[in-house]
């Protein structure tokens, strides 16, 4: 049982079955509850942890259907239209779901109905209403729902209180009232909820994961955990995906592989590909680099492969299999990008700026190669640049004001000759302070050449020349 601070002291926020049997309900104060059950064990509520656990469970539930939405703070909504038959119909799916949740130590109520609102109500009230977890269709459904208490409509507590004060306690009683006066007195909320229950008003769901255009899944009779089995299953999935993409003349740009574990958790890994691709062997190599990070836990019971992003792909490209020249380099780029991360590789591109540390940006790997002219500069530039200029400690000064000797990072440097200054101004039109830097090329007695600048009376080390 968990508690949270509320009006008038600490109140119960959630109770387990054992506590419920003792008559405890969420909302009563902890002091009252302890008076009823002195041996009560209460722990503070952890909303953040609860939300994370709900998200984990939602991800796991994608093993049944790709359309899984969070429902409030304590529920999950699964759209099983068109996929219940894979699990032996609705009874089979619900049975499977309950069994797996129980095995993972999660107590849950589940039900199936033809609208989200009806499923919400039926999951929470079918045991008290005396019916199976699957709401029948048509008139039978209406009869069953009509007998439910008003709180099955997801109305606010205040509305439920107001309505019960005028003697309306069940859905049926509300449905029988004339609609116009009801709306005038209590607002549109009761009518909207009622229509959602019957399916007369739409109730769109927001899936936790955007629906991928191509999905293939593979459940296992026995949970797997060995690397060879994962490889074999992944290859099978990629072949099936490749076949479906080929039929539509498409290639994958981004693939997402989900590992559904037996303990109602899951792990996902994604790969991005520089160009559309459907060759299973190549895609498996890209995934294979990451398989060492798979944590099978107590076993993986299913794997789901989604093509999150696809592009048109000509049939002849599929036959190359990385054998031809261009594709070998592209294959290398894909593998490196997937191992180190696409943001950690790139092609240097010139930027038109006066600030040296900003004169290069990391461009994308593909795209045209910058020409020599774009890099031409009037003044010599160092081959190595410090990401941030570092102040130096000038110990003696020439008559011109330039340093004759300085200390930097603990070493002493003697300046033999210098050349400069090259004046670079801050880009005040970008809203920066109008600083200016006077850059000097300095050669030390031992031949090393540094790039130092003076700004506001201080000298900074910024790079070294070859």
């Amino acid at each position: 049982m968990t508690t949270a601070a509320g009006q008038g002291g600490v109140r119960l926020q959630a109770v387990d079955t054992l506590a419920a049997r003792q008559g405890l309900r969420p909302g009563i104060t902890l002091a009252d509850a302890q008076a009823v059950v002195p041996t009560l064990q209460a722990i503070p509520a952890d909303p953040v942890g609860d939300a994370a656990a709900q998200a984990t469970l939602a991800d796991w539930a994608t093993r049944f259907t790709p359309l899984v939405a969070l429902d409030g703070a304590d529920g999950l909504l699964l759209d099983i239209t068109g996929c219940a038959h894979l699990f032996g119909g609705e009874p089979g799916l619900l049975g499977d779901l309950d069994r797996r949740l129980a095995k993972a130590g999660i107590s849950a109520l589940s039900a199936a109905a033809s609208t989200p609102a009806a499923a919400w109500a039926w999951a929470r009230f079918h045991t008290t209403a005396g019916g199976g977890p699957i709401l029948p269709d048509g008139q039978a459904a209406r009869d069953a729902l009509w007998r439910l208490p008003l709180s099955a409509l997801r109305l606010s507590d205040r509305l439920v209180d107001d309505l019960s004060r005028v003697g309306i306690r069940r859905v049926e009683e509300l449905a029988r009232l004339p609609r116009a006066p009801l709306a005038a007195r209590y607002g549109l909320e009761p009518l909207r909820r009622l229509d959602q229950l019957t399916g007369d008003a739409p109730e769109p769901m927001t899936p936790v994961r955007p629906q991928a255009p191509y999905i293939v899944r593979m459940p296992f009779a026995e949970p797997i955990s060995r690397r060879e089995d994962i490889d074999a299953a992944a290859l099978h999935l990629l072949r099936e995906m490749g076949g479906r993409l080929a039929r539509d003349g498409k290639g994958a740009r981004q693939l997402d592989l989900g590992f559904i574990r037996t303990d109602a958790t899951s792990q996902r890994m994604a790969i991005g590909i520089g160009r559309p691709m459907r060759c299973a062997g190549h895609l498996l190599r890209l995934f294979g680099e990451k398989f060492s990070q798979v944590d099978p836990g107590f076993g993986i019971e299913a794997m789901v492969l989604e093509a999150v992003s696809v592009d048109a792909m000509a049939p002849e490209q599929a036959g190359l299999e990385g054998g031809a020249g261009g594709t070998e380099l592209e294959a290398l780029v894909d593998r490196v990008a997937n191992r180190v991360g696409p943001a950690r590789m790139g092609q240097p591109r010139p930027v038109n700026t006066h600030v040296p540390e900003r004169a290069v940006r990391r461009g994308t790997v593909d795209g045209p190669v910058s020409s020599a002219d774009e890099w031409a500069s009037d003044a010599p530039r160092p081959v190595l640049l410090l990401p941030r200029p570092e102040p130096v400690d000038v110990s003696s000064v020439l008559p011109s004001g330039a340093p004759a000797a300085f200390r930097w990072r603990g070493d002493r440097y003697l300046v033999a000759r210098l050349e400069g200054p090259e004046r670079l101004r801050g880009e005040w039109w970008h809203g920066e302070a109008p600083t200016q830097r006077d850059y000097w090329r300095m050669q030390m007695v031992d031949g090393r050449r540094f790039w130092l600048f003076q700004a506001a009376e201080t000298w900074f080390m910024h790079g070294w020349f070859a």
Binding site: L332, M345, S371, W375, V383, L386, R388, A466
Partner: protein
């Protein structure tokens, strides 16, 4: 007797090919353009399909300049150059506008910044194995002898030029690399106006199938080529030895 001499020559050629001191066919070696240095290398240049180590000085850009000058000699038709920068504390990083002055077009580079040394070595091995890259450079990586052996095998498989810019340590461990160089900045001609051409002291510390050597070079920034440094008279005795 002449038959014997011919047979011995053929056997020597075969041995040196097996030893990788000469290319086994495939891409020609990369000459430095300085006859004195190329003459000291058994293949007349840096053998592709092998690892070559360059030991730079501390806080000194000469090693990077030397590598950029070598890479600039690779024809553009050979392909792109992968430049893998080892992770490390905030330190000076390759500055593209600077290397353009050494004949290396920055646009040819594919720069990779892995998060760990392990990833960096993996990237190097994959890159060296790829036949479509002109060269792969490991910047700031110090591979162990075993790792170096792996890189050498990968370079042989891909016939790719592998250049390792080692971190500036006084005594790097022995390795199976084809060559190891030390490149340090040297004072330029004091008679020149302002700062003259970049001058380097280049030591060939070891070379498979060849001896050691020591040269004073300068970078001709107009012709974009390496030259032996001019008159040695003004140099201190230590540098000329």
């Amino acid at each position: 007797m002449t038959d014997h001499a011919a047979a011995i020559t053929a056997l020597r050629a075969q041995l040196s090919a097996l030893d990788r001191t000469r290319p086994m066919g495939g891409r020609p070696p990369v000459a430095t353009g300085v006859p004195a240095i190329d003459g000291a290398l058994p293949a007349g240049g840096l053998v592709c399909g092998g690892i070559h180590e360059v030991l730079p000085g501390r806080h000194c850009g000469a090693g990077h300049g030397f590598v950029a000058a070598l890479l600039g000699r690779l024809p553009e038709s050979d392909g792109r150059i992968l430049w893998c920068r080892a992770p490390g504390p905030a330190n000076a990083a390759l500055y593209a506008p600077g290397i353009a002055g050494f004949g290396l077009l920055p646009g040819r580079l594919l720069q990779v910044y892995p998060r760990t040394d392990e990833d960096a070595l993996w990237v190097m091995e994959e890159a060296l194995r790829c036949r479509r890259l002109a060269a792969a450079v490991g910047d700031g990586l110090l591979p162990s002898p075993t790792q170096c052996r792996r890189l050498q095998l990968a370079a042989e498989a891909g016939d790719t030029l592998g250049l390792m810019l080692l971190p500036p340590t006084a005594r790097p461990p022995p390795s199976v690399a084809m060559t190891r160089w030390r490149v340090a900045a040297a004072p330029d001609d004091p008679a020149s106006d302002g700062l003259g051409r970049p001058c380097w002291t280049v030591d060939l510390l070891r070379c498979r199938g060849g001896g050691a050597g020591n040269w004073d070079l300068e970078w001709d920034d107009e012709a974009l080529r390496l030259d032996l440094a001019g008159p040695l008279a003004h140099r201190p005795v230590a540098a000329a030895e």
